[in-house]
Symmetry: C2
Subunit: 345 residues, 2 copies
């Protein structure tokens, strides 16, 4: 049996066309080059008949040289992370890297499995959005000198490269903005989490009250479990509205908390912002399309993602480079959901 590899030239000869044309068609570029439909069909048929092995896939398979970055995100079903993943991919692709993604679902065990899978499959380096309780895994990567950059969340006790948001300042700005617009009883709905960025959001919120001499009420702060968001949000909002100093404004510390909260606020028939003003972290189409556009903390997503890729790629080339620890600033985008409070006459 003749095992000689079928080439583009073989196909071109049989089809009586140029090799370039065959290449166009077999690389799916016939639309761009205005190849006639009939001739394209003919070329493909001959390629199949001769058992042509598409060069493009086979080539990268043989070389095994594809450079790869492992990206671990905390939750793929959260649009913030999904969009960051897309940015990381685009930036990596520009630099000749392919990204493979794992989602830890905010679960340390899954995160550990993913790190092991990616290490076994020899990714060149990692970009990681850490989940709760994953500090020991990060320490392990550090000890083993695996190149990685933490994205969006970091551990202040670990000397890693990271690109995160200045969450303290962002939450402080959110609280201050509401106070300036006449709201006084401001609640915060956050996650129950030891993750530093979440603790910083709580600290920034409390600081905005303190600097404006508004005494903090413990009913105003709700820390919600990851697994029981819907239920705890309902109970928490009920509690905040029934308190001695009922809230007139709410800050949501993440997108997912905002969605669950807004659904419940709608179901109660409360009007935003007259009954309850809203500011949220995270960003998503729903904040634009809601009947009252939602004020939100604009995180520099593009910058966060791109910078993480840059740092990692630089690190891959120069493993001894100094650690980069970058805190980026968010920007409050003020809209109707937190507009100036109307005083009741």
């Amino acid at each position: 049996m003749n095992k000689k590899k079928v080439s583009l030239k073989d196909i071109a000869e049989k089809a009586q066309v140029s090799t370039a044309l065959v290449s166009y068609v077999l690389n799916g570029k016939e639309k761009e080059s205005r190849v006639g439909h009939e001739i394209a069909v003919k070329i493909k048929a001959i390629a199949r008949e001769l058992n042509y092995e598409p060069n493009y896939l086979a080539k990268s398979l043989r070389s095994g040289k594809t450079q790869t970055i492992g990206l671990i995100i905390a939750d793929i079903s959260n649009p913030f992370f999904a969009n960051i993943a897309r940015i990381v991919e685009d930036e990596a692709k520009k630099n000749g890297y392919t990204v493979i993604i794992g989602s830890s679902d905010e679960n340390a065990e899954k995160s550990r499995d993913l790190i092991a899978v990616f290490l076994n499959r020899q990714v060149d380096g990692f970009i990681i959005v850490s989940s709760e309780d994953s500090e020991e895994q990060i320490r392990y990567l550090l000890d083993k000198n695996v190149p990685f950059v933490l994205l969006d969340r970091h551990f202040p006790d670990l000397a890693t490269d990271f690109v995160s948001l200045n969450s303290f300042k962002a939450a402080f700005d959110a609280g201050s903005h509401l106070i300036q617009n006449g709201y006084k009883n401001i609640g915060l709905i956050a996650y129950k989490s030891q993750l530093f960025h979440m603790q910083e959001r709580i600290r920034g919120y409390r600081q905005s009250l303190a600097e404006n001499r508004i005494p903090f009420q413990s009913t105003w702060l709700k820390e919600i479990g990851f697994e029981t968001v819907e239920k705890e949000i309902r109970v928490g909002i009920d509690d905040m509205l029934a308190a001695d100093f009922p809230v007139d404004a709410l800050i949501f510390a993440t997108y997912r908390l905002a969605i669950a909260g807004l659904k419940y606020i709608n179901s109660l028939g409360l009007k935003v912002p007259d009954d309850l003003a809203i500011v949220s972290f995270g960003q998503a189409e729903v904040f634009d399309l809601y009947y009252c556009p939602i004020t939100y903390v604009l995180q520099p997503m593009e910058e966060l993602g791109k910078t993480a890729v840059e740092i990692l790629i630089h690190k891959l080339k120069q493993p001894d480079a100094d650690k980069k620890q970058i805190l980026m600033e968010a920007k409050l985008v003020a809209r109707d959901s937190s507009r100036l409070k109307v005083k009741v006459a």
Copy 2:
């Protein structure tokens, strides 16, 4: 130098506690087991001092046995695919598999790179949401006997396993529902794509008009390029509204088209459904939180994802099993955006 591995017992002896306690703490379970904070800190410090290698990660690294599925989705920033990815992960995890994800961004070249990367890294099998022009890649996997299942999109000419939606029927139902509710001039905004599921949506929509003896107008159908959605949507909607038979209802063939369309409809000051009724494919929080809840085609996402995993795992165990080709039915969820048309007196 003593290279003997440090064990939990070594740490326990030095800390003068039980091995079980050390294990709890080093596996991050101290919260569950009510270990005192001080003793936990002490144990972690000793583990570090002795250079203890966390067993959990090292073990999976040494064995290299983690079973892995490669999932290729068409666009990670689309919530439909992000949610399906989460379902696939959960189901795979139940079966002892880890999922690594790549996003092709509807781009055949990226899809090809990802397939090569995943094959090089020896995933056990693939679940693939195909992108435009990727038919040859799928044929290649078929020829090479790589185990895979197509999800959400399939190629009618290829004898692969697949789990998809009955897109013809879903679009037919969407059109029929609008007609029953009194709308007559119904437009469809779809992608310009040769992908079978998109062609089927167009065919189903046209069939709903034909069966109700509504003559189709070519201005009612807009096929939008992936790269130019925002611009083409504006031009397309303008054109549909200015036509001889201006549309009184719109069907969006995907979530992303709906978001772009609704933003433009809002900016025109049109009211849904009085000025324009809406039905959309895809599902997302924004359809619930919009001022007028949007009627949508509920795709059995959970079923789609789970079934794809089931078929793949079965295939991995029994490579010669018969091909499974499954078309699932969508369900139209009727809400205010397509309610009974108010007749002008």
